[in-house]
C-alpha cells in the first residue's frame, strides 16, 4: 500500500515538529496516533526515513504501548477501565456486555468503523468505579444493563438509529 500525498505531508509535518528533540519517537507516534488515527507499517517506514530510527525499533514501540494502534480505530473509542477498583466493582461484566453487544473483542473495531473497544488500566476514576470512557467522556458506575444505552447515545450523536 502506498501512502497518499496528503498523508505523507501530514506525517512529515509531525516529524518536523520534533526535529530538535533528542528522543522524538514517542511524541511523533503520539501525534500520529491522535491525528492520523493509527500507525501502519507504511507510516512507520516514513517516520524511519525522517528520523533515522529503524523500522523494527519503531514497530517495537508501537506494539509495546497499547495506546498505539496498527489498524484504524473506530470513530468512537469505548474504553472500559479494568483497573483494580473498577475490576472489583464488576468492570469485567461491563466489558463483556460491550463485547457481546458490539460483536467484537477488546482491541477490535466494528466493521462499520463506528466503535473500537479498549480495555484500559486504571484511568484514575476509582471513586466512580466501574468507569467507562467514550472519546474522553466518562460514564460513572456502569452496569451491564446500561451498556446498550451508552451505545445508543453515540448513534444519537450521529443522527442515526441504533441497529437492532
Amino acid at each position: 500500500m502506498k501512502l497518499q500525498e496528503s498523508a505523507v505531508a501530514q506525517i512529515t509535518a509531525i516529524c518536523e515538529r520534533y526535529k530538535n528533540e533528542k528522543t522524538p519517537l514517542m511524541m511523533i507516534l503520539s501525534d500520529i496516533q491522535n491525528e492520523y488515527g493509527y500507525i501502519p507499517l507504511e507510516v512507520q517506514e516514513l517516520v524511519s526515513e525522517k528520523t533515522g530510527i529503524s523500522v523494527a525499533e519503531i514497530y517495537g514501540v508501537v506494539t509495546f504501548y497499547s495506546f498505539f494502534s496498527l489498524t484504524p480505530k473506530g470513530k468512537y473509542i469505548i474504553g472500559c477501565c479494568l483497573g483494580t477498583a473498577c475490576y472489583v466493582k464488576g468492570a469485567q461484566k461491563v466489558i463483556d456486555v460491550f463485547s457481546e453487544e458490539l460483536g467484537i473483542k477488546p482491541g477490535e473495531t466494528t466493521d462499520d468503523g463506528m466503535f473500537t473497544l479498549d480495555a484500559l488500566r486504571c484511568i484514575g476514576a476509582c471513586g466512580i468505579a466501574p468507569a467507562v470512557s467514550v472519546n474522553g467522556k466518562v460514564y460513572p458506575k456502569m452496569t451491564g444493563a446500561q451498556v446498550r444505552e451508552v451505545i445508543a447515545q453515540q448513534y444519537l450523536n450521529e443522527g442515526k438509529e441504533m441497529p437492532k
Binding site: M1, I53, S54, V55, A56, E57, Y59, T63, F64
Partner: protein
C-alpha cells in the same frame, strides 16, 4: 586511569575504576557466568540475571555485568544465596526454552547450555506455559527460531552497530515479547541484507544459517560430480573449530579433510578471485579511459549488493558487473572444466565453502545462472564444514597437509588469497591495474595504505605513472553509507571503491566460527578485540608465501584466457562471468 580497592571472596585487589563487577572479576581471575552482556557493552541490557553476585553497598543481589565497582566494595560470588540465584535465573530462561538440544546445530557452542552447566541449572525446575513461538526459514541465508531466544538483544545491537540497519527489534511486550523484523516478517520480506552478523553474536540457536549439508548428501547419492571450492577466509578460521589458536591458517589439513569427505575435486576460490581481478581490473581501466561511470565499486560481497539494491538503487551503475569469485569459478567449472573433462554441466554439483551466509542467497539469484543452470548449487559456511568434518569422524589435527587439485584451475596467486579481508580486493586489483598501466610490476608488491582488519573507511591515492587513482575502502554498511552518500551528493573524489558487507571483510563473515571467550580458554581475554587482526594475518602470511603474487601472473589464468575465454571482458567472459543488478523493495508487500 584511577584505581579502586575491592575485595573478591575476601581477597583484596586493586582494579581500574569504572569497570563493571563482571569485568573486574575477570581481571582478578573469576569468570562469573553471564549471558546477555557481550563485547565491551555492545549489548549490555542487564536483562538475563545470570550474573548475579553479592556486593556490599547494594540492596540485594546485583547484576555484575552492569553494576560498577566502587572503593571498598566487597564482592561475593560463591555464597549459597548468589549461586542459587544464578541457577534460578538460568532455570527460568530454560523454562521458556524448547530444550531440544540434540536437534540444535548450536549444540557444543551454545552459551545457554554452557551457563546451565556452570550454574548447575537443570531442566524441569519450572514448568508452565510457554510464549508463543515463531519460526522463519524462508530466506535462503538465515533461520530464526524464537523458541530458543532468550531476548538478550545482541542481534539487535549488532545489526545496528555494523550496518546502521536495525532490521531486528523487540516486538510486543512482557511474556509475548519476541525478536523479529517488523511485523514478524521473514528476513526475506524485510530490508535484511542476509549478512548473518546477527548469527555470529546469538548466544543460542535462535538465529542460525540455513544448512545445506543435506543438499550435498543428496547430490552424492544421486551420483553427481560433486566439486568443492573454498573461499580464502575459511582457511583463516576453520582451525578455531578444532582448537587451533585463532589466526592459524589450516589450508593443508582443510584440503585433506575435504578429500576425505568425498569431494571429487577440491579447488581454491582464489583461482576465481584471480579471474575476478582480470575482469574487474579490465573493467576499471575501461571506465577510466572511456569516461565510464566512476567511482566503480566492487561487487564481490553479496551482503553489500543486497544493501545497494534495496537502499541505493540509483547507484547500481557504479557497481562492477563482475560476479563474485565463487560464482565466476562455478560458471567456469560448468563450462570450461566440463568441456575439458567431457562432462555434462547438468551432472556437476558445485559446492562453495564460504565464510558468508549471504552467498547462500546470492547463488539463487536469477542473474547468477547461465542458460538456466546455476553457477553454484550449494553454499555451506565454515561452521557447516566443521560439522561435516566432525560428522565424518575425521580427527582434524591428525590430518596430513595436502594440496589443491592442480588439473586446470589449481593455481592461485597471493592476490587471490587476500580477497578475504577488507582492503584485499582493492590491493589485488591495484597490483594488476598498476602492471596494466605501466607494463612493470609494482616494486613493493604490497599497498600498505589500503590494509586493515576492521570496519571503518580507509583511503589512499596511488600514483601510477602520473595517473593518480584515488581509492577508498569500507566494510560494514554504516561505513559504506558515508561513501555512498558522497557519490549521491556528487562530492566523491574516488575512482575505485571496495565495499564489503561484514565489518573487517570476509574474515569476520556471518558464516565464520563463533568467537566466545568461554569456548576459547587458551585465548586472551581480549580475543574479541584481536580475532579479526589474527585471521587477517593468516591470509597476509599466505600471500607472502606464494611464488606468484599478482593475478595476471597466474599461469592457469593465462591459459584459461588463451584456450577458452579469449581476453578479459570478451563476449564469452561477459556471458559467463558478469551479472546485473536490479532495484528491490526492502519491505515487500
Amino acid at each position: 586511569m584511577s584505581k579502586v580497592n575491592i575485595k573478591i571472596e575476601g581477597v583484596p585487589y586493586e582494579v581500574e575504576a569504572g569497570l563493571t563487577i563482571l569485568e573486574a572479576a575477570k581481571a582478578c581471575g573469576y569468570e562469573i557466568p553471564s549471558l546477555c552482556a557481550f563485547n565491551h557493552g555492545e549489548c549490555n541490557p542487564g536483562s538475563c540475571r545470570v550474573c548475579l553476585v553479592e556486593a556490599t553497598g547494594a540492596r540485594g543481589l546485583v547484576a555484575s555485568c552492569v553494576y560498577p565497582v566502587s572503593e571498598g566494595m566487597e564482592i561475593r560470588i560463591s555464597t549459597p544465596k548468589a549461586t542459587e540465584a544464578r541457577r534460578r535465573s538460568v532455570e527460568l530462561l530454560l523454562s521458556n526454552h524448547n530444550q531440544n538440544c540434540q536437534q540444535c546445530d548450536k549444540n557444543g557452542k551454545c552459551e545457554l547450555l554452557h551457563v546451565a552447566y556452570l550454574t548447575g541449572a537443570r531442566e524441569g525446575a519450572f514448568t508452565g506455559e510457554h510464549s508463543e513461538t515463531h519460526y522463519d526459514d524462508v530466506a535462503p541465508a538465515i533461520v530464526r527460531d524464537t523458541s530458543k531466544c532468550i531476548l538478550c538483544g545482541r542481534c539487535i545491537a549488532r545489526c545496528q552497530n555494523a550496518h546502521g540497519l536495525g532490521i531486528l527489534g523487540f516486538e510486543n511486550r512482557g511474556f509475548r515479547t519476541f525478536v523479529s523484523p517488523a511485523e514478524n516478517r521473514s528476513f526475506a520480506n524485510s530490508p535484511c541484507i542476509q549478512c548473518g552478523q546477527c548469527i555470529t553474536v546469538c548466544p543460542t540457536g535462535a538465529l542460525m544459517e540455513k544448512s545445506e549439508i543435506g543438499k550435498i548428501d543428496e547430490a552424492v547419492k544421486a551420483g553427481k560430480h560433486v566439486i568443492v571450492q573454498v573461499a580464502p577466509a575459511v582457511r583463516a578460521a576453520l582451525g578455531e573449530e578444532f582448537d587451533y589458536p585463532v589466526g592459524t591458517p589450516v589450508t593443508g589439513k582443510m584440503i585433506a579433510a575435504l578429500r576425505r569427505l568425498g569431494f571429487e575435486r577440491v579447488y581454491d576460490v582464489n583461482f576465481g578471485a584471480d579471474l575476478t581481478i582480470m575482469e574487474e581490473g579490465t573493467e576499471l581501466l575501461g571506465r577510466l579511459t572511456n569516461g565510464g561511470v566512476l567511482p566503480m565499486i566492487t561487487s564481490c560481497s553479496p551482503g553489500w549488493v543486497n544493501y545497494a539494491e534495496m537502499n541505493y538503487s540509483d547507484l547500481l551503475p557504479h557497481l562492477s558487473s563482475c560476479k563474485s569469485p565463487h560464482q565466476m569459478q562455478g560458471a567456469i567449472i560448468k563450462s570450461y572444466w566440463a568441456k575439458e573433462h567431457g562432462v555434462d554441466p547438468k551432472d556437476i554439483f558445485v559446492v562453495s565453502v564460504m565464510p558468508c551466509v549471504a552467498k547462500k542467497f546470492e547463488k539463487e539469484r536469477e542473474q547468477e545462472k547461465v542458460n538456466g543452470i546455476p553457477d553454484v548449487d550449494a553454499v555451506i559456511t565454515t561452521r557447516e564444514l566443521a560439522r561435516m568434518i566432525r560428522r565424518a569422524g575425521i580427527l582434524f589435527n591428525r590430518l596430513p597437509e595436502e594440496d589443491w587439485d592442480q588439473d586446470i584451475m589449481g593455481d592461485y596467486s597471493g592476490a587471490g588469497v587476500i580477497f578475504g579481508v577488507t582492503g584485499g580486493v582493492m590491493e589485488a586489483a591495484l597490483r594488476t591495474v598498476y602492471f596494466k598501466l605501466t607494463g612493470v610490476e609494482h616494486d613493493k608488491i604490497v599497498f600498505e595504505a589500503v590494509r586493515g582488519h576492521d570496519a571503518g573507511i580507509r583511503e589512499a591515492s596511488i600514483d601510477i605513472n602520473g595517473t593518480v587513482v584515488n581509492v577508498a575502502i569500507a566494510s560494514g554498511m554504516k561505513s559504506a553509507k558515508v561513501l555512498l552518500d558522497e557519490i549521491r551528493a556528487g562530492t566523491s573524489k574516488y575512482q575505485f571503491i571496495e565495499i564489503m558487507g561484514c565489518p573487517g571483510g570476509c574474515i569476520n563473515g556471518g558464516g565464520q566460527p563463533y568467537v566466545r571467550s568461554c569456548f576459547l580458554p587458551n585465548e586472551g581475554d581480549d580475543i574479541l578485540d584481536t580475532y579479526k587482526e589474527k585471521r587477517a594475518g593468516a591470509l597476509y602470511s599466505e600471500d607472502e608465501r606464494q611464488a606468484v603474487r599478482q593475478s595476471h601472473n597466474n599461469p592457469q589464468i593465462i591459459e584459461l584466457y588463451e584456450k577458452f575465454l579469449g581476453e578479459p571482458n570478451s563476449h564469452l567472459a561477459h556471458e559467463l562471468l558478469h551479472t546485473s543488478y536490479a532495484a528491490r523493495e526492502g519491505f515487500k508487500s
